[in-house]
Amino acid sequence: MPSPVVAEVARRLARRARWQPLEYLFWLAALASVFLLRDRHLILTEIAWLGLFALSLDLILGYAGVISLGHAAFFGFGSYAAALLAKYGIVNEPVLALVVSGLAAAVLGFATSFLVLRGSDLTRLMVTLGVALIMREVANQIPDVTGGADGLQGVVIAPVLGLFPFDIFGHVSYVYCLAVLFVLFLLARRIVYSPFGLSLRAVKGNPLRAASVGISVNARLVAVYTLAAFYAGVAGGLLAQTTAFVSLDVLSFERSADLLLVLIIGGTGYLYGGPIGAVVFKLMQDWIANLTPQYWQFWIGLVLVLIVLVGRDRISLITGGLRLVVERIARRWNAGAVPPPYPPPLAGEGREGVRGEGR
């Protein structure tokens, strides 16, 4: 029979993982948008898979501290896999094809994970960029398979689960993407609140110390990198399936760079940064594209510059502050004890400073 102290500690730890009111709000809003925002389902579909893509980057950047400039490699690989599976009738049912695409991307992730184990942040940037560029070049060099620069044509996606054919308004697409996002989110949430997830945060914070308490840093990094590749591959598969088209830009540097921006806007290290960032990014993109369709890259660049100058930690303080305000309101509603919100780690700091570099 555990002592009262132990029981209390266990209770407190368990409370951390409990769903917060804001989380319910987020998913209820998402569910509501299925019915209330029917004319926006096309852009909502994009937000959904982009959110999943950003979530996958959060797993390695926000939780394990691995900087990647080439995460699009897994996204694009999953995308092409899903499109090819459909085009050649290898796997017709979309959900199954999605799983296969994700697994294919996971294999690629596993195979390249050893590249990000050693080296500084710059090395990781270079290596991940290199892998993505190689993938893009591969896709470019086998146009018979990938369609090359023109993209893969003639892809026809079967109905989801054999029951729900894709429509031009994006209704089925959105529900499909949202459902996939939700399921994978639940899994990710479970993982980050597990001992494994805690060890990731330790590895990110102080890899030297982590190794010195018996944690196999490399094994953890390989595992989370592979998982993130799976998620990215699924996101890419969703893009291919909902648009029935894939082209080389799914593997481009711009795709990886935009993804960083999405995640940075939303904030790293608390899982919702990806989906929230996707919402803000897409709305911003939509708005700017209406103003200046050709030069929207300029404004994206400006946003990046400003975010860095203002300071990412100041921005996450703002979002954290907003969260605290809403929590306080929610707490006044239920008189019962709601524990203080789990404090998110400051948005993805680099991993230097362990060996006293101090910069």
């Binding site: 900087i67 090395t123 940037l125 270079m126 190689i134 300029f298 990046l304 860095v308």
Partner: protein, 286 residues
């Protein structure tokens, strides 16, 4: 085959002039400047405007490109970059990517998105034969110019007081400050100089590499490869790395056109795996 070697050397030396500024910046301030290519692009377009439109002779356009780009570099360094030095590498990456996006879009807006060509004097066009090797006149100019620049750089580094201050600061900035060296000033000057060199490289290279608004992104990888393979603690490292990359790329694309591009990417990854601090760097103290 020797022609390919010659072309590869020309390409490599051009890469060196373009990338050495980036290498020193990284080695000196541990600062990842992904926007380095934008300065090269600026130099190219400035020369284009001066030579094609204002009628300035080509050989005058080159030094002007250097000076103007150096000034732009100095300006950006003092007003923008200085705020980002202390931030994490991720922040620096995001910041400089933002700058690249802005510069690419801005140039697209001002100059249009098509590829442009600087009017090269006819004396530099075409090739001639020397001992059975085809020597492109323009490429010969590149080799000579870049060679002189490299020698000059090495002389500055090893022969002048500024050079020794720079080397000290690269070696250990904290100790250098403790010795009274104005590391920030050294850096500002070096940054400007490196940007100027990039601008000169962009002007020189427009003929071979092609000049359009996407230049900084297209060639970013090459600069980064030079820096990673060559290391950041010397000039000779990036120099040798540039030659290696240049020859490998030209040869790769000639002999194995389908896989030419992979040659350098693979070299980069292999080098990074075996020696994360670069092929030619000393065993890093950092």
């Amino acid at each position: 085959m020797l022609t390919i070697l010659f072309d590869g050397i020309a390409y490599g030396m051009l890469l060196f002039v373009l990338a050495c500024g980036l290498s020193v910046t990284l080695g000196l301030m541990n600062f990842v400047n992904l926007a380095h290519g934008a300065f090269a692009m600026a130099g190219g377009y400035i020369t284009l405007v001066l030579v094609n439109r204002a009628g300035l002779p080509f050989f005058a356009g080159l030094p002007v490109a250097f000076v103007v780009t150096a000034l732009i570099g100095a300006l950006f360094e003092r007003t923008l970059y200085v705020h980002v030095y202390a931030k994490s590498h991720l922040d620096q990456v995001l910041f400089t990517i933002g700058l690249v996006f802005m510069s690419v879009a801005a140039v697209d807006y001002v100059m249009g998105s098509q590829q442009v060509f600087i009017q090269v004097p006819s004396a530099l066009q075409g090739r001639f034969e020397l001992f059975g090797v085809g020597i492109g006149r323009y490429r010969l100019l590149i080799i000579v110019t870049c060679g002189l620049l490299t020698v000059g750089l090495q002389l500055i580094l090893s022969g002048t007081r500024f050079g020794s201050r720079l080397r000290a600061s690269v070696d250990d900035a904290r100790v250098a400050r403790g010795l009274g060296i104005n590391v920030n000033g050294v850096f500002a000057l070096t940054f400007a100089f490196g940007s100027g060199l990039a601008g000169l490289g962009g002007a020189l290279g427009a003929e071979i590499l092609g000049l359009d608004p996407t230049f900084p992104l297209k060639y970013l990888v090459y600069f980064l490869i030079v820096v990673t393979v060559g290391g950041t603690s010397s000039i000779t490292g990036p120099f040798l790395a540039s030659l290696l990359i240049g020859i490998a790329d030209v040869a790769g694309k000639y002999y194995v056109p389908k896989f030419g591009a992979f040659v350098i990417y693979t070299i980069m990854i292999v080098v990074l795996l075996l020696r994360p601090q670069g092929l030619f760097a000393r065993a890093a103290g950092r």
